[in-house]
Amino acid sequence: MENISNQTKNFFLRILNIPFAFLMHAIDLIMWPIQKIIGVRNMPYIFLLPNLIFFGLFVIMPLVANFFFSLSSGDELLFAERELPTTKQYDQLFDCESYLNPNTCTEDFFWRGVYNTIFFVVFQVGLMIFFSVLTAVILNKKIIGRGFFRSVFFFPVLLSPVVVGLIWQWILLKNGAFNAIIESYGGDKVSFLTDPSWAMASVIFVSIWAHMGFYTLIVLAGLQAIPPNLYEAAEMDGTSRERIFFRITLPLLMPNLLVVFILASIKGVQTFDEIYVLTGGGPGTSTSLIVQYIFTTGFASSGSVQNFGLAAAASMVLGVVLLFLTLMQLYFSRNKESKHQEI
């Protein structure tokens, strides 16, 4: 009986094998001559080709096109109708009497974006690392509802930036929920989003709220990788908690914090959507970052000239900054790997 069953199974497997065998033969028909021509050593490139084509089409080509746009001028979209080549856009972008005073620059909106971005990244990344470590240390302890709190802190990461912007707009508006609470306690309403002295602080706070969960997770993973016997030894020696933190936890967390620092910096430099929804870059230009400058100059000019060339030049500058940060990340992560290998 079992023999018959196996025979039936084999029969069906052979039937199922027919289309695959046919397909393999068909592929062989194509691959065999190629292998014959280029040799077996070069065959991996053939398998990488489909992916490389997509990468080239959707990453490399736009990059090259962007570079050429940055070397052209005019309000037309098609290269054939644009003035090319010219360094006019870069000249305009860097034409400043004093780089420290945006009002003396031809493209003052760009330089305001640069300074706002630097301010935003420094404070957002610094505070984010601080709060991520604090939260991760707490979540690493055996507290009640630890799993629940880990989920709660991670939840905002799952939200779309537009949703984050809208939620916080409703909370922070002058007639929003937060001001209602302040008023109910007899306080005066605060223009969190429309007062220049509050707006940047508000967007930094919202940005930290939205992204902290992700970085907390990375720090938490780092904390859990620290061998517990180090803590046990320190406790046996009667080391204070602060000393344990600064002499054991923090040094061993450094590689993770470096990753958090670089990833958060890259993300911070690219920030746009949350702030655009929350404050629109205002009041004035006080929360307008570089990416918003690029977007507004190239695509949202509200009837003014859509200056694709200038937007492309600004995005090339942004690209250089991001390249530097990415190279830093690669350098440190490779450094970390080689140290691990040495150990």
């Binding site: 979209l77 429309t194 009837g303």
Partner: protein
């Protein structure tokens, strides 16, 4: 069944299939895509009904109505057009700014003289400089900028409304008085728009063009009006929370504050009538008042939106003829409570709201008082460049990023820079 029979059967099947395909192609309806923005259902529902009616009566044409936000018309449409991917027709407010993309539909409309007779003065707003004959579309509604007041608040404060001839300073003073007496937080609110600032600036003597007709933005008139707006923001007559909630040249309307009766005087325009009738309802009485005066004039800015063609073919011509017909336009304008862009149109406004009726009369009555500079500015192909320069730099000055002197200098530089980018040089 022999081989001959099988071949015959295959031939018959192939011929039938080809005939079916050919007939399907020849009877397929021509698609006409319209990109439309509207002030809510008040405008979207009537136009959708008209399109449905057209599609039912013309099975050979399939009109597709894409209802989009206003931002898409201002920012996405120009990029689509630059890439050659635009719709066949769009409802546009940057009338001259997109003129290089408009198609001449003269050969495809039933009676070109109807367009000249009915929309004559507006057709030049769409045409390229030097062109006096092309037909690109028609004015869907005409608009006039001007102020509204919360009449109920004036009555509660026991302050009389000012009549024609009152100045901007006088209106500001009574608005502050009403706000103080009634505890209203915002005496004055304006749409954040360079177009809205321009009527009052012309009233203060702004000319916008030099002797040769080229853009020259900053002069004493513009300085006077923008300084007044700056001062009102610093004094609290206007709230920084309204214009401060966005940056650059982004448009922002204070409707939420107005609807909540937190504004005494709102500077906007005739297109708000339908919205106010809908949204304010019986909450308070609102009246449109004549454009306040400056030393040079008492003018608002004309404007409006037009349905303009980006493709010229018989189907587009037929759609334009239908939507611009007296019958359809009258029905549309009557429902949306707007001022017609048609020069000879009897409109039966479908409203019992006395506020809306009063506002329609006020704005229609304001048309003859519009200053020639305002018409010239509205007709100028690069007016948006000037409007945007005003609002973005004034916005920066108001929040303290630059002085008014720096802002005026920047306004002129922005205009010059943009014109150079556009025309070379």
């Amino acid at each position: 069944m022999n081989i001959k029979f099988i071949l015959k059967a295959i031939s018959v099947a192939l011929v039938s299939f080809s005939l079916t395909l050919i007939s399907a192609v020849s009877f397929a309806a021509t698609d006409v895509r319209i990109m439309w923005y509207g002030d809510g259902d008040k405008e979207n529902v009537p136009i959708a009904a008209q399109i449905d009616e057209f599609n039912a009566a013309n099975p050979d044409i399939n009109v597709i109505l894409d209802i989009v936000p206003y931002d898409a018309i201002m920012n996405t449409l120009p990029i689509q057009l630059a890439a050659g991917e635009g719709p066949d027709i769009a409802r546009v407010t940057d009338l001259g700014g997109l003129n290089k993309y408009y198609a001449d539909i003269t050969p495809y409309v039933a009676d070109p003289s109807y367009y000249e007779k009915s929309f004559g003065p507006f057709l030049n707003w769409y045409r390229k400089p030097g062109d006096t004959t092309s037909i690109h579309g028609f004015h869907s509604t005409m608009t006039v900028t001007g102020p509204y007041v919360n009449k109920t608040l004036f009555e509660q404060a026991g302050v009389d409304l000012l009549g024609p001839g009152a100045t901007w300073e006088e209106w500001a003073a009574v608005s502050i008085e009403v706000a103080e007496k009634t505890g209203t937080p915002i005496p004055m609110a304006w749409d954040r728009s360079g177009h809205r600032v321009s009527g009052p600036a012309i009233s203060m003597g702004a000319k916008y063009f030099d002797a040769s007709g080229d853009p020259k933005l900053v002069d004493d008139g513009l300085k006077a009006m923008t300084q007044m707006l700056y001062d009102w923001h610093q004094a609290g007559t206007m709230s920084k929370d309204l214009w401060g909630s966005v940056s650059g040249s982004k448009y922002h309307a204070p409707n939420d504050w107005w609807n909540a009766a937190e504004v005494v005087f709102m500077m906007s325009g005739s297109w708000q009538i339908g919205r106010f009738a809908n949204e304010v309802g019986d909450d308070f009485d609102w009246w449109a008042v004549p454009a306040p005066c400056g030393p040079a004039a008492c003018t608002g800015m004309p404007g409006g939106n037009a349905l303009l063609a980006f493709n010229a073919n018989p189907a587009v011509g037929k759609v334009m003829d239908y939507l611009s017909s007296k019958e359809q336009l009258s029905s549309f304008i009557g429902q949306v409570l707007a001022i017609p862009g048609h020069l000879d149109l009897q409109v039966d406004y479908q409203t019992d709201d006395p506020n809306a009726k009063h506002a329609l009369n006020t704005f229609a009555g304001a048309v003859p008082t519009i200053d020639q500079v305002a018409f010239d500015l509205q007709a100028h192909v690069d007016n948006r460049i000037m409007f945007n320069a005003i609002i973005s730099r004034l916005g920066q000055a108001i929040v303290g990023e630059m002085t008014m002197d720096e802002a005026w200098e920047r306004m002129d530089e922005d205009v010059e820079k943009q014109l150079k980018e556009k025309y070379g040089g």
